[in-house]
Symmetry: C2
Subunit: 342 residues, 2 copies
């Protein structure tokens, strides 16, 4: 069962291919009678334009690509869902690629997408990424690009972000408001903007509330894993006996820390309070439930696609391209890993 082509319809009706094509696309210069005839025949033969030919002619594939560090991840899969939902509304399909937090892979994935001639790229950067040459190449090829969540501040393109610094400030302030005096921070790797910003928000909250910043209370996570939460919690307990609160870069790590505190029978939140970041589903079902910052993944995905779509249209119509940055609100979700505000 080979798909129907324009020329088959043309032959059947004894008219030219051009007329068939124009009739189907409702060109004004085709007679009503012909249009009707063509459309009926097309419907009976279940005609569908050959996507390959259309792509080649229009130089559009109605397909976009998304590159994220990791698919198996509550936040990123929510983003994907938002992107797919919004893309579908506009008739776009979505190709997904993973960077595994590797700069080299990220670069390769960009090449793959450019070679495929996708209509646009959505990206959340790998932790390793410090050089942005590959992103500039995307822009040099005039392929629309939108960054979300893990962005490069210096690259000039549309972005969808949250205010990591303010959110981290709020998280840390919550610890202070609930009586914590000595607050540690499990931070992310050195490079990504969001781990820098969360660290800065933490630091600012301390100084704003006259709590001295102590660099020995900063613990690094390299791959943001459960296991690192366990290990850092262990170290923290070994190093410091007086810490009564900890703000952790990501829920998964926080859940690891909580499991270690539980194992050592450290009472949460009485002896130590914990605040995470991202509001992974599991945070609402562990014991104690985790106070965290809600990060709107689904909305982020939707908005990222919207910005990309706008840029695709602007380029097509040869309009000036105006980059836009959308900042989505976050909110503190108070649960039982922190005390009540007095």
């Amino acid at each position: 069962m080979k798909p129907t082509t324009l020329s088959q319809i043309a032959e059947l009706l004894n008219i030219s291919i051009s007329t068939v094509s124009k009739a189907l696309k409702d060109y004004p210069d085709v007679s009503k009678r012909t249009k009707l005839l063509v459309k009926e025949t097309a419907a009976t033969l279940n005609y569908k334009p050959n996507a390959f030919a259309v792509n080649l002619r229009t130089k559009e594939s109605k397909t976009i690509g998304i590159i994220i560090p990791e698919v198996v991840h509550h936040f990123f899969s929510s983003v994907i869902k938002g992107i797919i939902a919004q893309a579908e509304k506009k008739g776009y399909l979505v190709i997904i690629l993973q960077s595994n937090e590797s700069y080299k892979l990220e670069k390769k994935q960009i090449e793959l997408l450019l070679d495929k001639h996708i209509d646009g790229i959505l990206i959340s950067l790998a932790n390793e990424t410090a050089d942005f040459q590959h992103l500039y190449e995307v822009m040099a090829r005039e392929t629309p690009l939108v960054m979300f969540d893990k962005i490069a501040k210096l690259v000039n393109c549309s972005k969808v972000i949250i205010n990591d610094r303010n959110a981290a400030y709020e998280a840390t302030k919550h610890l202070i408001d609930t009586g914590c005096k000595r607050i540690a921070h499990f931070r992310g790797p050195l490079l990504p903007q969001n781990s820098i910003d969360r660290f800065l928000g933490y630091k600012k909250a301390l100084t704003d509330h006259n709590i001295p910043y102590d660099s020995s209370l900063i613990y690094f996570c390299n791959n943001m894993s459960f296991e690192e939460g366990v290990q850092n919690a262990k170290k923290l307990l070994d190093d410091h006996t007086d810490v009564d609160g900890v703000f952790i870069n990501t829920d998964l790590v926080a859940v690891g820390a909580i499991s270690e505190f539980n194992r050592q029978n450290i009472k949460i939140p009485e002896e130590i309070s914990v605040v995470g970041f991202s509001n992974w589903f599991m945070s609402s079902v562990i014991s104690p439930t985790l106070t965290t910052i809600d990060q709107p993944g689904y909305l982020m995905g939707k908005n990222a696609f919207k910005l990309l779509y706008k840029e695709i249209r602007q380029r097509k119509e040869n309009n000036i391209i105006i980059f836009k940055q959308i900042e989505l609100p976050t909110k503190l979700i108070k649960r039982s890993s922190t005390r009540d505000i007095i």
Copy 2:
């Protein structure tokens, strides 16, 4: 910066487009000298074949589509990861679409993919899907199709599955082996094969061990949510005072049930033992940790792509197409929501 084309290289070197094309593809009938010249020029100009043109000529897009019920889902995102990893090895890109467990949407997504002329489709069926017309259409169009996890037994194509019945049998038997006498089951919706099979495995384990099957101990879940776990646990406690074990179709639901048992201070596993299914990450971090069946999502994805790739090749080479069914092993992960075997 417009991409380089064959004709540009041809013009530059004063040779024909055909020769350039053949040189780049190492046709034996092109002189070494010409090949070298062409390849060097291509490299300098950063020539990449235009994917749209190649697609149109070769009638291949080197892109496959995958349709799953839900992206934000630990098991399915693992499968996606496996598919993407394997596809990348073979130079294929992956388009992801969601059915949201809806038959209508699933059908629409199939149409979208067929219209795009992807090279193959990987699908895990929606719960609602009882009619397979859309799948037959895929096959009628000679598009390779592989089903995984939630399959239609009656549709003749390659499949990657686990043995849900045996796995459920093992889960239930574990409850029996650890001393449970009256075992409930939270099952999935009526249609999908996996919820039928898991139910049958549960039932068989009971009868094999001389425990009478009691239909009042079966509770339905329609959307496999945390909330349904809570509600069913409530009902179970209201309806029956003597139940000492429950086998639950999916971890997420089991986690909901556990949270309700905890809330009502029912001791797990002393008063009631719980076994889940799928081994979601969170099952290892809740309290108590959940005994469950590990379902190899990543491997499933890898194997599904492998079968699809094989079929793509077979069709291309006009070989006979042999459908294959791969059954992946599962295993019981013993944790603290069940007692120890005496």
